[in-house]
Amino acid sequence: MSAKTANKIATSVIVAVSGLIVLVLAGLLGYILVRGLGHISFDFLTSAPETIRRGGGIGPQLFNSVFLLFLTMIITIPLGLGAGIYMSEYAPANKVTNGIRLIVEVLSSVPSIIVGLFGLLVLVNLFGFGFSLFAGALALTVFNLPLMVRITEQGLRSVPREQKEASLALGLSKWKTITSVMLPIAMPVILTGTILAAGRVFGEAAALLFTAGMSSPRLDFSDWNPFSPFSPLNPFRPAETLAVHIWKINSEGLAPDAKEIAAGASAVLVITVLAFNFAARWLGRYLYRRFTAIK
């Protein structure tokens, strides 16, 4: 076989495989959306699930997912930013720092089910949070934190060195330089990364099975006092998120339309995650344009 034929064959194989990947994704998305979209309605998105009757919705689960995401992010972002700033700006270049970097790497690759078990043992049982949003948010923080640290480090490293030095030369303290000069410049990278991380939180189920629980108590959407047990805002109530709900309804669903609900909920979940993805992309591009004035 001549080199040219081999080249042609190899090229066509590569193109074919790439096409196949696109087809697989298209098929996957198509399958989920076609089966699920028909079931999505305003009523489905807002009403409470039914145990044995037809026509249950995913309202509380959707709210729980969003609220849990919010809780997770307000714990993760300050901690992750702080740790990331330390790693990229304060940490001296020595063995200890290398060790910490290794630890962050290890933490980021711990399987989510282990994080869930850890949450069950420590947060739910030992600290006595019970199956609750708060325990779930902390568990999600555990595996989101390393991601956030890496994103922050990456963002800060993308700041031009001259800019940092100019700020220091003007007499600003290091902390001031970081918060007022470097962080804003690093913001596009950090923001995009954070949104992608948020998408991961939204779809996570394994860690939440053991921490946020598989039950969703009745919520009273007129009660916004975070301390009342039926308030949607109470962080100490058990909360089943959308991803966990799909898992549960697939496996334990008693309602006659469990299949449709699972399909509809999957579609909602996928659409939301896609929205996160597109938002991250769009925001990244938008901020990049604003900051660099490239029209």
Binding site: I21, L25, I85, F118, V270
Partner: protein
């Protein structure tokens, strides 16, 4: 970097500087505390099977029969370990060539089209939640395998296919970065000598980027190894080493999810599951070290 500058300017802002330093230090301390307590708690639970309940480590690692509630109680976790390795390795074997082709397409063949369409598509695959993969696997792949191959559809093959789609983005992204980072002169030199594109890829690009490609594959395997729900839904969960790819099998993660809620904490049946979790965690560490080692090699 800017040390001398900082020393002169810091004085008026000492308090502020101190706050910043302490705050970031606390954050990193929290992170370190988290990982250490995670390791400590999982290890102490997982080891109590051996020290409190007196199960032999070797028996657990090499035993073939898992019957924690049986008479006598048997804790042979080899079928789970085998299942975890075979599904994740097979998944990587499927995903690696696909990922490599996709990254070559994006970097070498059609950079513009690839970057614009293929890359977002592959990144979207990474965003789809694992329960959705499991759901699709159970309703599409399992029935398909049941019709086409002998057996019941569930098993290592179904698990590996689902996992391969899940780890494809990891492998592709890292491969793409590695290919794109290759010095231009290397490829141009090859083309200048009259080599075809495939010869260049096969003889120049592939060997030089191999350590980086391996990094991607190991990271993919690590992710597949730890994936729980999607695998549990399609693998069948029989605690045996299967005789074929299409026979019901188990992984470490599927065994844990299946029984954790059903067993009471502190009992030997529950502790044995924590031992599985400990094995899973130790394997994760091994993967991290392999990745580190590969990264060091790819820098040379």
């Amino acid at each position: 970097m800017a040390q001398p500058l900082e020393r002169q300017q810091a004085k008026p802002h000492l308090a502020e500087e101190w706050v910043g330093k302490v705050y970031t230090l606390l954050c990193i301390a929290f992170l370190i505390l988290t990982i250490f307590s995670l390791v400590y708690f999982v290890a102490s639970k997982g080891l109590s099977t051996f020290f409190v309940n007196g199960v032999n480590v070797i028996d657990l690692l090499t035993g073939l029969k898992w019957a924690p509630e049986g008479e006598p109680r048997l804790f042979g976790a080899l079928p789970f370990i085998f299942g975890s390795f075979s599904t994740s390795l097979l998944a990587a074997a499927i995903a690696a060539p696909l990922g490599f082709c996709a990254s070559v397409f994006m970097v070498e063949i059609a950079p513009k089209f690839g970057r614009q369409y293929l890359q977002p598509v592959i990144e979207l695959l990474a965003g789809i939640p694992s329960v959705v993969y499991g759901f699709v696997g159970l309703s599409v792949i399992v029935p398909f395998f049941r019709d086409v191959f002998p057996g019941q559809g569930v098993g290592i093959a179904a698990g590996a296919v689902v996992l391969s789609i899940m780890i494809l983005p990891t492998i592709t992204t890292i491969a793409t970065d590695a290919l794109a980072a290759l010095p231009k002169g290397l490829k141009e030199g090859s083309y200048a000598l009259g080599a075809t594109r495939w010869q260049t890829i096969y003889r120049i690009v592939l060997p030089t980027t191999l350590p980086a490609l391996m990094t991607g594959i190991v990271l993919g395997i690590a992710r597949a190894f730890g994936e729980a729900l999607a695998v549990q839904m399609v693998i069948g969960n029989a605690p045996h080493i299967p005789r074929s790819l299409f026979e019901s099998a188990s992984t470490l993660t599927s065994a844990i999810t299946l029984s954790m809620g059903n067993t009471a904490m502190g009992t030997v049946a529950n502790n044995a599951l924590w031992s599985l979790a400990l094995i899973l965690m130790l394997m994760t560490f091994v993967f991290v070290f392999i990745v580190r080692w590969l990264e060091r090699r790819s820098k040379i």
